[in-house]
Every structure is written in C-alpha cells, then in structure tokens.
C-alpha cells in the first residue's frame, strides 16, 4: 500500500452558504477519488466550510495528483508543523 499523508485540499472562498452543503461537496469530491464514501469518510480529517472551502485528508501521492486536477481545487498542500514563538 502506498503511504498516505495528511494533505490540505485548498479551494478558496466557499461557494455555498450552507456549511453542510459545503461538507457534502467535499465528501463527494473525495469519494470520486477514493471510490467509496466509506473510504472518503475515513480519510477526511477536517472539512473547512465556514470561512473558506477545502478539506484535510489522508492521501497518497497518486491521489494528490488526481485531486489537484479537479475543478475548484486551488492547490493541494502537504500538512506542515509549526511552533510557538
């Protein structure tokens, strides 16, 4: 199995006001790549749906390439650590 890492799928300003609708759209998008809703739910870490749109999910490199090409995706960003200053 290819190793999956947390990635942020960043989609910019949200296109719908209903947060649940935004999350459903994220699940649908992820399902289209992972080929099942169950897998999509397991993979999803967060749905960003209030201030902007996007989600964090555990993805393999090939899944990252596929999802980066979907309409509405600005960029797929690897998760990164920060520290307090």
């Amino acid at each position: 199995h290819a190793r999956s890492e947390v990635h942020i799928v960043y989609m910019g300003e949200k296109q719908h006001h209903d947060p649940q609708h935004v999350t459903n759209m994220h699940h649908d998008m992820l399902s289209s790549i992972l080929e099942s809703k169950e897998e999509a739910k397991k993979s999803m870490v967060y749905s960003y749906r209030h201030g902007f749109s996007g989600f964090a999910a555990k993805l393999t490199e090939s899944q990252v390439e596929k999802i980066a090409g979907l309409p509405g995706v600005i960029r797929v960003i690897p998760n990164q650590l920060h520290s307090v200053q």
Partner: protein, 665 residues
C-alpha cells in the same frame, strides 16, 4: 505586563485626556481569538468580575475534554475554548503520549504559552503580581474587558508543535464564531513558502479572516538577528517584532576589592556571601578552552563552595544551562556567564545564581581575579529597575526583514514589548511561580498588539484591518518614550531600522487618532497577488469572484501598504499611494520628506486638501538614486502633516545597478 502597558502609555490610573484605554472602555465587547497551546482557566487573571453578558453576536462555544468542563471553566471572560488535534495526530502516526510531557486532550493548557499570550492581550486586573518578588505590579491585558476565545492548536512536544491542518480548522471556526481579532503567536521554519499556498496554513487562513474584517496579528518569529528571517510576511497580516521595555533585573556582583558590577539575572535565592571565585584557566599552552561555558572543564579547578566565571561566544541560553549543570555537579554555588548580547535572561532551576554580564564586564572580573591571590565575590538577589535609565532595544532573537519572499512589502510591520513579560501561565510551566511567569519572544509581542487592536476596534468598529494596521504603523514611535533612540541587539549593536522594528514601537494613544490611513480591501490584496504572479484562476477561486489581473501586471510597489520598500532601483521608479482622511473633515496635509542617503524622493502633489466630499486622495512618489554601485538599504521617511497629525511611513531603498546579483566579495 506589570510594566509594558505603563510603558506604552496605557495606565488605568492615567488622568491623561487621550488615553485609549479609557476611551475604549477597556476593550469591552471586543472578542480576541488566539491560536495557541490552550488556556489554564483557573488563572486568577481570567476572572470575569465586572464584565457584562457575552456579546450576542458570539457564535462560538466551549468544548469539554480532559480536565476541562465547558460549563465550569468558561465564563464571561473566557467565552470560547476548543481544541484541534486530528491533524497533529495524523501526522505523528502514534498515540498521543502525555507521559513524558503532560498535556490534555482538551482546551486546557499544559505548556503555558497560550495562557501567557491570551492574558497579555486581554487578562483582567491582578494587583501585586510578580515572579518571586521581581517585576512586581498590576498585571493585566491590553484590553482588560475584552473577551478571550482560545483555539488550542499546539501541543506540548518540544517547541510546542502545531499542524497546519489544525491551524486552518481553527481559522475556519474563528471566522464563523465571530472573533474581532486573531492573535497568532506561531511560525514556521525558513525558508518560507509562497503566501497563498504557504504550507503553514496561516497565509490562506489569515487572508479569509482579513477579508471578512478580522485583524490577524502574528509573531514575526524568533530567528533574529540575521536579515531575511522574518516570518508571516503576507501584506494582510500585522507582523510583530519584539522589543524590550524600560525594565531590567540588575543583580549585584561585589568583588573582593569592593568593586560592584551589575549583571542581569532572575535570581531570587539567598545572597551568596563572600566566597571564592574561580575561572578554569587553560593549563600551559594547550589550546583547549577550559573556561568556555558550554564545555566547562572543571577537573583542575576547585569548584566546591566557589562561584565560577565562564565565557561564551554563543548567544542563546544553551551555554547558561550547560554551565549551571556543570558547576552544580561540581559543588559550585554560583556561576557568572560573560557573553555577547543574545537571548534574554531567565531563571535558573532551584534559585541557583546564574548571572549574565557582557564580555567587557566579564573581562574586568577576570582582570581582578588575575590580580589577586585569592579572589572572592558576593552575589546578591536580583532587583527590579524600571524607567530611566533603562533603554529600549529590539530583541536579539526578533526576526528581521526584509521579507525573503516579497522584499517590496516591509516586514516586520511594527514592534511591541516581548522581552521578560510577566503574565499568567500553567502550573506545568517550570518557570511559573504563584501563577505567573516571565517569558520572552515575538509570541509575547504579538498579543500586546492584539490587545491594542481590540481597543482600536472598540472605538472604531468600522475600520478595516488595513486601516487599523495603518493607524498603528503611521503613528509608531521611532524613539523610546524618553525620546532616546532605539537600538537593535546583534553583533554589533546598531541603531534600529525598519527591518528591525518596521514602522517603530507601537504607540497606542496616537494610533487612536491617526489623521490619515492607508486603507486596503480585497481588491488591493488581489492587486498584490497579481503583482507577485498568481494566475487569474487561482485568484478567482481564492476570492470567490471572477477576477482578471490587468495587463501589464501591476507593480508591487503600488500596493497601498503604509511603507515604501524598493528592493531594487537602478535609475528611478514611480509609485502611487492613496490616503483616506479619518480625522477632521476639512484637513490640509503637507508632505515632509526625509530622503534616504543618496536617494532623491519627490511627492506629487505635496499638499492634500480634504473636504466633505473628498475623503480619499492619491499621490505619486518619484524615487531616484544617485548611487553608482550596488548598495545595501538606506532608510528615510515620508510624513503627511496638518500640524496636528504626523502620518509617517518608512522608506527603504536599495540600489542595484546589477540586478539579481549576489555580491559576497
């Protein structure tokens, strides 16, 4: 904060007519969100006495978890508390281990950092607070009546780590919840990533917050004093450098010849009466440096019962810790560390005396030792010295500009106190005493500015984040409160310039009435994104509206920030700025230019007349260089004044006859 707010002119007892603290009713009604390590809700400084009901517009909540009961632990001061760990856990791929470093799967703070930053910004009043008697005074936040919402995103692992997936979720929730200000004392390692696909999550998260009217205040980072180390460089962020206040902790070192030297320490143990003073000298001609603090060699030195002098060229805390460990193990009773200015002082464990002196005074101590057969020394507990003659400096650790990824956007924006700040902490903080700890970092500087932003929001609720940022920058102090110049710590120490402290030291009372502001909105940020090369489709997606960048591409020099930074000029350049009158309606402002050395600056028009129908006016700045070689940066300023307001922005210009050229010769 027992000194910093007085230093900044925000004393609650001040009878001054222009006290922002009073005008803003202590920040009542404003909500400050913090992305940090959580909060210790029992801290006395989080009491909600005198606070009215929670603002009705607040949509956030408190989340229960390990040792955190939302109903009991939140109050009218702490109105929001959530935690975000899923991104961190998914990254670590192992169960959360709290055995080595305690933490709680809840908003409760173990590290102490989040409690410290949040109480700097908005803690309630606590009289007679101190750390073991030093820094005694009235502890409080900048906006003592503002409400706190803690978004715990960082966890108690070395350096307090936080994942960008968690940070972005906290931004997402904070925007939903209705915070007015976001205080983010976090940073990432260098080199930086581009701002919109920045892997830290702060760039995009803050963009969406700012375009919704939330001011985002970030720490500039602790990677100084090298240039190009500044972090959180997006133009929509308010990036904060750390400076000292007029307070120090002198600690007496009396030599056997009765000569007294004042070092710096946080030593609150008992006085060490006259006892032997030793320095591990090199035996013979061997090159080994026995007296170097970080690698003390004490085999040939009678340390037991004595005080040890050592020298180091390192400027972080590591040599202090190493020397204390070695000297303690060998039975010594104290250590004097001679070092270059560097990381700030801190207490040593179990009140062991560890006193820092500069190289010059360290050498004097060594000369005394070499001039007498049995050198002795007496060490006194540290005292608190506040006010004159203690000077203001930009901290050694504070990250410096220019921005490595957008050098035409000045960073940091501003400086604020961030050295030896007393605030609340967690009982798990090893440097906490009686609920309070003295900590240093740009982490401590940022919430000082966040507290001030809360006060400004209270009196100017309609001002945009850019207007607030402009007000803070154009009114900042270029000197300390006594009118003396501000130095920047480093080797060598030098006068501070805009890459050390941005527009200067934050001056809250003046920021309340700036006269003019350099305002910006989403369209201005789009222009910036076009200028730095983002494509139309990314920008359209980012802002949720169809946007096409103009052709030719706009100049980054025209982005309406309250500063002019020209990283590369060969002959001349022209740029524009627009100012908005937020003062008296019929105001007339005249330009005053302080040109950088060898640079000619002209402003057209040089008089701006506002009236009831003219609130915004644009002007052109023509800049030309007379330098014939590649230079470093020279600094100047442009001030618009109506003789009541002085609206000053820094100018930084570098001549590059050969461009894109590295010159190491």
């Amino acid at each position: 904060t027992t000194r910093s707010w007085d230093y900044l002119g925000l004393s609650p007892q001040s009878s001054s007519k222009s006290n922002l603290l009073h005008d803003a009713n202590l920040g009542d009604g404003v909500i400050i969100g913090l992305l940090d390590t959580g909060i210790w809700p029992e801290s006395v400084i989080l009491n909600d006495e005198g606070l009215g009901p929670i603002p009705q517009r607040w949509k956030g909540s408190c989340q229960s978890g390990e040792r955190f009961n939302a109903t009991q632990d939140c109050n009218r001061k702490l109105i929001g508390a959530k935690y975000y760990i899923d991104g961190f856990l998914a990254e670590n791929r192992q169960p959360f281990n709290t055995t080595q470093a305690p933490d709680f799967k809840s908003p409760r703070d173990s590290f102490g950092h989040g409690t410290h930053t949040s109480t700097i910004a908005a803690g309630s009043f606590v009289p007679n607070a101190s750390y073991k008697g030093i820094a005694l005074g009235l502890l409080r936040g900048g906006a003592p009546k503002a409400r706190i919402a803690m978004y715990k995103v960082c966890w108690n692992v070395p350096r307090g780590q936080c994942s960008s997936a968690d940070i972005l979720k906290a931004f997402d929730d904070a925007i939903h919840d209705g915070v007015d200000v976001l205080s983010v004392s976090l940073g990432t390692d260098l080199p930086l990533f581009p701002q919109i696909d920045e892997r830290d999550g702060i760039g995009p998260g803050s963009f969406h917050a700012v375009t919704k009217g939330i001011t985002v205040v970030c720490a500039g980072g602790n990677e100084g004093p090298s240039s190009h180390t500044i972090d959180n460089t997006s133009p929509w962020i308010l990036t904060v450098a750390a400076s000292t206040v007029d307070r120090s902790f002198p600690t007496g070192i009396v030599l056997g010849n009765n000569f007294t030297i004042l070092g710096q320490a946080m030593f609150r143990g008992k006085e060490v009466g006259f006892t032997g003073l030793v320095y591990p000298e090199n035996p013979g001609l061997r090159p080994t440096l026995f007296g170097v603090c970080e690698s003390l060699t004490l085999n040939n030195t009678p340390v037991a019962g004595n005080v040890v002098l050592c020298f180091t060229t390192m400027n972080n805390r590591a040599p202090v810790s190493a020397a204390v460990t070695s000297v303690k193990q060998a039975g010594g009773v104290g250590v004097i560390i001679a070092k270059h200015p560097g990381d700030v002082i801190g207490p040593c464990s179990n009140d062991f005396p560890c006193i820092e002196v500069d190289y010059e005074l360290g050498s004097q101590i060594l000369f005394y030792m070499r001039s007498t057969r049995s050198p002795i020394v007496k060490l006194s507990p540290s005292k608190t010295l506040a006010g004159r003659p203690v000077s203001t400096k930009v901290a050694h650790f504070s990250s410096r500009g220019p921005s490595s990824i957008s050098p035409a956007i000045l960073k940091p924006d501003i400086a604020a106190p961030g050295v030896s700040t007393l605030a609340a902490s967690s009982p798990f903080d090893p440097f906490m005493d009686g609920g309070f700890a003295l900590h240093s970092g740009t982490s401590m500087a940022a919430p000082h500015v966040s507290g001030i932003v809360a006060l400004l929001k209270a009196i100017h609720p309609s001002w945009s984040p850019a207007a607030i940022k402009s007000a803070l920058m154009t009114t900042a102090w270029k000197t300390d409160p006594f009118g003396e110049p501000v130095f920047a710590e480093g080797s060598p120490q030098k006068l501070a310039n805009p890459f050390d402290y941005g527009a200067g030291i934050v001056n809250p009372n003046k920021a309340a009435k700036p006269g003019l502001v350099y305002d910006m909105g989403t369209d201005d940020y789009i222009m910036y994104l076009c200028a730095v090369g983002y494509n139309d489709s990314s920008i359209t997606q980012l802002v949720g509206k169809s946007k096409t960048c103009p052709s030719p591409k706009p100049s980054i020099l025209d982005v309406n920030v309250p500063s002019i930074t020209i990283p590369s000029i060969r002959n001349s350049v022209t740029l524009t700025r627009t100012v908005t009158n937020v003062g008296p309606v019929n105001s007339v402002y005249k330009a005053q230019i302080d040109s950088p050395q060898g640079i000619h600056v002209a402003v057209r028009p040089d008089i701006l007349a506002f009236n009831s129908s003219v609130k915004d006016l644009s002007f052109i700045v023509e800049v030309s260089t007379s330098h014939k070689v590649n230079t470093g940066y020279y600094f100047g300023s442009l001030t618009w004044t109506d003789e009541t307001h002085y609206v000053t922005i820094p100018i930084s210009v570098r001549t590059q006859i050969i461009q894109f050229y590295t010159d190491f010769n």
